[in-house]
Amino acid sequence: MSVMNTSQLSLIEKFLDLATVRQSLLVSNIANVDTPGYRAQDIDFHGELVRALNQDVGVPVPATVRQVPGLLSRPDGNNVSVDREGLLLAETQLKYQAAIQAMRSEFSLVRAAVNAT
């Protein structure tokens, strides 16, 4: 195993990819909070991460986007919950930053190895 191609780095990379997909859907949901008939969308974060890790080779399969079940629909057919979106927005941001920190510490190991002499 080479130091630049660790399983940790690919795990972090997939995590960041999924966090970006989720963020895009959250942003889309929030933008359409007043659009009649719009339905909130999301991905199964954990399930998608497990799936991405088990699929090591080949073209990455895009995450399956689904409508969020169990949300209360307003009379205009829109079911975006501001509380849910706001909470997940904060959560996704923190998860993303945590993953970036993990990636930085991976790289600092590489840097340490480079400077070892």
């Binding site: 963020q23 895009s24 929030i30 359409n32 659009t35 970036i100």
Partner: protein, 146 residues
């Protein structure tokens, strides 16, 4: 969709909510206007929001259709006039009163307008929060190399 695209997406919502708030302000300002260019009292205006896929035309749309099939921007599809009946008030001294002494006033309900305005402002703030989150993520990503 990349992180910068998400900021554009939230930006589309800011524009839409701003237009909605502007129309509410117009309605409130003209709540007592009995004369318009088209004749008759002012009529309440409102917006129709529509979800649409980003970059809706040309090459970019084709390219995006392969990757971003789920994220949707919001836009003001059209501005419509509310054609419900004007509010009639008995005021014979008013220059625009008809033969029976009633004046046709705009069909603007100030309470409805204020509720709309607050809703637009809250949605605007929500989208600003979304932009700040996306911004923090971009800044974090820049830090990888630092």
């Amino acid at each position: 969709m990349n992180l910068f695209g998400m900021m554009q997406l939230s930006g589309s919502a800011l524009l839409a909510e701003r237009e909605r708030a502007e129309l509410t302000a117009t309605n409130l300002a003209n709540a007592e206007t009995t004369r318009t260019v088209e004749g008759g009292p002012y009529r309440k205006q409102n917006v129709v929001f529509q979800a649409s896929h980003p970059f809706a035309t040309g090459f970019a749309a084709t390219l995006a259709s392969f990757t971003d099939i789920h994220t949707q921007t919001v836009q003001v599809a059209r501005v419509f006039e509310d054609h419900s009946a004007p509010i009639r008030r008995f005021d014979p001294s008013h220059p625009d009163a008809d033969a029976t002494g009633y004046v046709d006033l705009p069909n603007v309900n100030p309470v409805e307008e204020i509720v709309d305005l607050v809703e637009a402002a809250r949605s605007y703030q929500m989208n600003v929060s979304a932009i700040q989150t996306t911004k923090a993520m971009i800044q974090a990503a820049i830090q990888i190399a630092a």
